[in-house]
Every structure is written in structure tokens, then in C-alpha cells.
Amino acid sequence: MAIKDLPREELMHPGAGSCPACTDLLTLRMTLKALGPKTVLVTPASCTASVACGYPKTPFGVPVLTMAFAAGGAAASGAVAALHRLGEDDVNVVVWAGDGGTYDIGLQSMSGAMERGTNFIFVCYNNEIYSNTGVQRSGATPFGAWTTTTWKGKVDQRKDMPAIMLAHRLPYVATASASYIEDLYRKVQKAASIRGPKYLEFHIPCAPGWRFPMERTIEMGRLAVETGAWALFEADDGKVEFNLRSKQILDGKTQRKPIEEYLELQGRFAHLFRPERDEEALAGIQQFIDREWERYKQLAACGMSVG
């Protein structure tokens, strides 16, 4: 898949309400290109509300069901059941939830929808914070990150949600990044081609939330992958395969860049560098990433059988 092959049709109208450089919007735009118009989005409370902006207008060219924060997965189950009754099983139902609506308040109903076998795609667009309410920490916020509820940096590590989803024995689980857009596009299409519950998680750099210059948004996502802070992989029927740069890293063909190269560009980690370097924290973060990659190796070797 090359950029030229991405469809021209736009299902997002220009003039949405999100911040400049918003990759929530970018990945929505790409996802809808991949899915086409026979799609219903379920959007729990999140920044996607600021994308949609305001009654009586909307930039969305597909139907959108705004949903309560906790209820993305449950709403998908209801929507899919109704579409089945209407003889419209070919309509894609996609929950578009933030990390809060996935890792935290949305976990129960998402897990339930997966276990119920709902034929849908759950997309977690992970900007590693509650951005809509003003940058509070979430279960996806990395250790050390400043947020408005962790002023000195988060003291806990993030969860591994893709692994939790793998443990649900889903037919398809994949991670992607706003900065590897063709890969993201392909994974959305792949998910849509499989029946049953699918989980996709997109890494979403957020300039205002992470405090970096907005034009470097795509670079930030790239650096996350190059340093190994984010990994691109997919699990088809439980068989885990890493993709692109992450595959090269896993196969030892490319070295991971030091994590500091990623951290030092973001204001949310500034306290780790200034006024003086917090060596302990920086080393701890690097060690965490190193350990994550040891786990990834095991994951790639054994996968998670769907059986």
C-alpha cells in the first residue's frame, strides 16, 4: 500500500473543531477512507466531541452515535444487534474511544462486547491522557509524564491494553500509529474484513497535551516507534507479528534509539531534564522499555492462541 493508493474520497468534511495538528482527526479521516460510507461510529465522551464540535452541524460524513463515556462497547453490541435485525450486517460498527474510554472507564463494557462476540471494531485512539478534560492522567499515561493530576510526573506505569485484548482471544488485534498512516490504513481494512470483535489501538501524539510544537506531531509518533516507546504489531488469530520499524527492531536489524531522544522533545517530560537531569527516572524509563521488548520477543515467539 502506497500513499497514492489511498482513496481520494473524504468522509470527514473540512472545518472540524479539533485543535490544529490533531491526530485524532487525522486517524479518523484515514479510518473512514479505509472503511467507506457503510460505517457507523460510536464515540464515547472524548476529544472526538471537539472534532464533532457542535449541534446542528457535524463534519462527519458517516452516522455517529455519541455515547456516554463508559459505554462504547455496550453501545456497539446494541447497534450491531439492531443492524442484524435490519438485515444490514455489512455495515461496519466502530467504537472510536480515547484511552480513558478504553483503559479506564470504558474497560468493562469493551471487555463485555469482546466476550459477547460483537462483530465490530473497537478503536482506542491513545493520546495517553484525558485530553478533553484538560490533560489528566489515564491508565495509558506513561511513567514520568506530567499531567494536571500528576504535577511531578506519573508514578505508575501504563497498562498493556493490547495484551489484555489478546487475552480475550480476539480474531484480530493490532496497534498502529498516526505516523505510519499506510500501515494504519491497512490494519483498519484488515479488521473490517474479519468477522467478530476486533481491537485496534492507535498511538496519537497530542501537541497541546504533551507540550511540543505542533508541526512535529508526526515526527513525535515516529520517534515513539523508533525508540520503542510504541510498538507496531498485529495478531491475526492470535499469531503476533511485528510490523515495519518495530519488526526490524525485534529482528535485531535496527537498534532502538535511546528513549531520551523522544522524551526530551516533550514538555510533559521537561522536569526529567531541567533544572537538572533526573538520572534515576530516565534510567528507569529506559529499563522499562527494554523489558517491554523482552516481553514482545516472547509474544512474537508464542503468540496468544485464539483456539
Partner: protein, 390 residues
């Protein structure tokens, strides 16, 4: 027409089956369980052609139900007590979405202090969520009200969800004879659902977008108009139902022996049926007393109450509690009859937490008013035992 002799929950499930909902999402809670078990069985046996979703919580029940209704299909669910409370956020969602969902709530006391016994606080605590609320006092009334509720909810002037409540055990688990109409007649009364909005990829709209203060109040106002329309439509549809099926349970209020009454008891749900016995007994003793059984509390039957309250003393028997305020029926009735000539409202809190309220209790409460031993400005806690720690 056939006769069914069974517990209230099974009778209610039968009514739901005959209304042909297309999506049912449910989560079990005593004493509602039999309804959702029965519906699951109907769906598995092919006796009801519907999608049945076993979801993982009541919040999810109502989310799934809202989503299904948003796609334009008829939906039903049932719950009780903690389950209804857990749904609270989504109840508002359903109301503001103008989704004609029908739900049964089996009234059960809220914990802690786990309790299974009836008390209307669970339903009454949801009175501001935009749901039309019925309270029924027999299995037959539950059956008939389910069918009426779908018709009402789906009426274009209403477009609001409907909650039907009845008492734990005294209705839900008590065997009663019930007349079951023919399916053809139900179909004729309740045609297939035609939604007034839906999510359809051919007509892609965004539902529930950010709604600024510039628009919000008007959305609430039109919900209010839906409630006002329901006030008119509940008796009208009730009469239409009567013509077809031969039964009428009342409009917003069922009035019993009120014509020449000086005193009128106000009650609902199973206290309402017990109060009928009390009225008969008190009448035999020569007291001119009647009963206004509130079948509907949202919309509140304020106009009916003003008419009934003229030159009469009303005695509200609340089996629900808003701690720090009192019983809802008492307070809402007081504000409804404000300025009505010669009307006083007396209030009792009785059976809160499920303690039995017998007709004898009701007679005693009424007599206390008749003899001038009760005050209209003080709500009395009936049958209150000694308090003070463990």
C-alpha cells in the same frame, strides 16, 4: 382470548413477547430475573424473533438498548433497584434521545443493607430522567400497560421512554389470573415501530453532538411537550385499548369511590390495591373516603389532582423516601393542589424498606386524619420502631 394463571413477571414477559421487540438487552437482578429469563427462553425457542443481548452490567444494558433504539428498532428491558440506579446516566441518555424504549422495574429497596422487599424509591429517584413512569398494581394491569406503553412511547407526539414499575414479590412473584388477548389484536393495536430518527449510513447524521446553551433548553422543552401530550394520550389510548380488549385501568389516576368522598387516599403500586380494601372497610364504617391510585407519576397528574382535591382532604401514602424531604407523592401533590379551594394534604411514610403495608395499617392512618389527630404539615413515619444505633 386465553386465560393465564401465573406470577406477575411471567405475565409481563408474555406481554413483551406479544409486542415483538427486536432487541432485548438484560442483566439479572432479583426480583426481575424471571422476566429476563423468560424472554431469553422465548428467543432461544423461537417463540420470539429478537436479538437477546446478555450484557455485563445495567449501565451497559441501557447503553446497548439506546444504541439499538437509535438504529430504529423496538427495544425492551427490565431491571430493579440497584440495577436501575446503576443505569441512571443512561436513563437521561434515553430520555433526551427521545427513544421509545420500554422497561419494567420491579420495585425493590435500595441497599446497603441488602434487601429484596418492595419500596418505590428506586423508580422515584429516576423521576427527572425524562421517562414516562407507570406504577401498576396487578399482573393484568402490568400486561395491559406493557402493550399500551409501546404504543404511547412510539407516538409521534410523545417519543419518550416508558418505565413500568410494580412491587417486588407482591406482584412479581404472586400467581394471578390474567386474560391474554389474541396476537392479531395486539398487532392491530400496536403496529410495527416506525422511528422518527435513526442512524442510517444512507443519511449520515451525528447524534448527540455538543449541544450549546443556545439550543439545550428547547430540547428539554420539547420533552416537556411530549410529557404533556402523554397526559392526554394515556386516557385516550386507554379507552382505545378498552374498546379492543375490554379493560380500562384508569387514566393517569384510577379513581375509586371518590364521587362523594370527603377524604381521598393517594397511593400507588401494591399499596394502591391494598388501599382499595381499606376504602371498602372504611366506607362500611360510614366514612366518606375514596382512593386515587396514581398509575402515572411522570407526567405528574397535577390537573387530575387539582380536580380531585377540591374541598377534600388528601392522604398521601408514600412508600418511598427522599431523605431530608419526605415522600415524593406528598410533596408533588402539595405543590399541584396549591391554591385549590378547601384542599389539605396529609402525608404518611409507610412500608419504606419493604415492611408490609396492610389495609389495616391504611385504615388506621386514615382514621387518624378523620379524627383530627394528624397534621397536614407534618409527614408521619408510620409504624416507626425505636431507633438509636445498634
Amino acid at each position: 382470548m386465553t386465560l393465564m394463571f401465573d406470577v406477575g413477571n411471567k405475565v409481563a414477559a408474555k406481554a413483551v413477547q406479544m409486542c415483538k421487540p427486536e432487541v432485548i438487552a438484560a442483566y439479572p437482578i432479583t426480583p426481575q430475573t424471571v422476566i429476563v429469563e423468560e424472554l431469553a427462553r422465548f428467543v432461544e425457542n423461537g417463540e420470539l424473533d429478537a436479538e437477546y443481548l446478555c450484557v455485563e452490567s445495567e449501565h451497559s444494558v441501557m447503553a446497548a438498548t439506546c444504541a439499538a433504539a437509535s438504529m430504529g428498532v423496538r427495544t425492551f428491558t427490565a431491571t430493579s433497584s440497584q440495577g436501575l440506579a446503576f443505569m441512571h446516566e443512561m436513563l437521561h441518555w434515553a430520555g433526551l434521545s427521545r427513544l421509545p424504549i420500554v422497561m419494567i422495574n420491579v420495585n425493590r429497596t435500595l441497599g446497603p443493607g441488602w434487601s429484596l422487599w418492595p419500596d418505590e424509591t428506586d423508580s422515584m429517584a429516576q423521576r427527572d430522567t425524562g421517562w414516562i413512569q407507570f406504577f401498576v398494581s396487578s399482573a393484568q394491569e402490568a400486561f395491559d400497560t406493557v402493550i399500551l406503553a409501546f404504543r404511547l412511547a412510539e407516538h409521534h407526539e410523545v417519543q419518550l421512554p416508558v418505565l413500568i414499575s410494580y412491587s417486588a414479590f407482591t406482584i412479581s412473584h404472586t400467581m394471578m389470573p390474567v386474560e391474554i388477548p389474541e396476537q392479531d389484536d395486539v398487532d392491530a393495536f400496536l403496529p410495527p415501530f416506525k422511528p422518527y430518527w435513526r442512524l442510517d449510513w444512507r443519511n449520515p447524521v451525528t447524534f448527540g453532538n455538543v449541544l450549546s446553551d443556545e439550543y439545550h433548553m428547547e430540547k428539554r422543552y420539547t420533552m416537556h411537550l411530549g410529557m404533556e401530550a402523554a397526559k392526554r394520550l394515556i386516557p385516550d389510548l386507554g379507552r382505545e385499548y378498552e374498546q379492543r380488549f375490554g379493560r380500562y385501568h384508569g387514566g393517569l389516576i384510577e379513581e375509586y369511590r371518590t364521587d362523594d368522598a370527603d377524604y381521598v387516599l393517594l397511593a400507588m403500586a401494591s399499596v394502591g390495591s391494598e388501599a382499595k380494601v381499606a376504602v371498602d372497610n372504611l366506607r362500611e364504617q360510614g366514612h366518606r373516603v375514596g382512593l386515587a391510585r396514581l398509575r402515572v407519576v411522570r407526567p405528574y397528574p397535577d390537573e387530575d389532582l387539582r380536580r380531585i382535591g377540591r374541598k377534600r382532604k388528601l392522604i398521601a401514602l408514600d412508600r418511598n423516601i427522599s431523605v431530608g424531604s419526605g415522600g415524593w407523592m406528598y410533596h408533588e401533590t402539595r405543590s399541584a393542589v396549591m391554591g385549590v379551594e378547601g384542599c389539605d394534604v396529609y402525608g404518611y411514610l409507610c412500608g419504606v424498606g419493604g415492611r408490609d403495608v396492610t389495609y389495616e395499617d391504611i385504615e388506621q392512618m386514615a382514621l387518624k386524619v378523620f379524627t383530627g389527630d394528624a397534621r397536614p404539615d407534618v409527614v408521619e413515619w408510620w409504624d416507626l420502631k425505636q431507633t438509636g444505633g445498634n
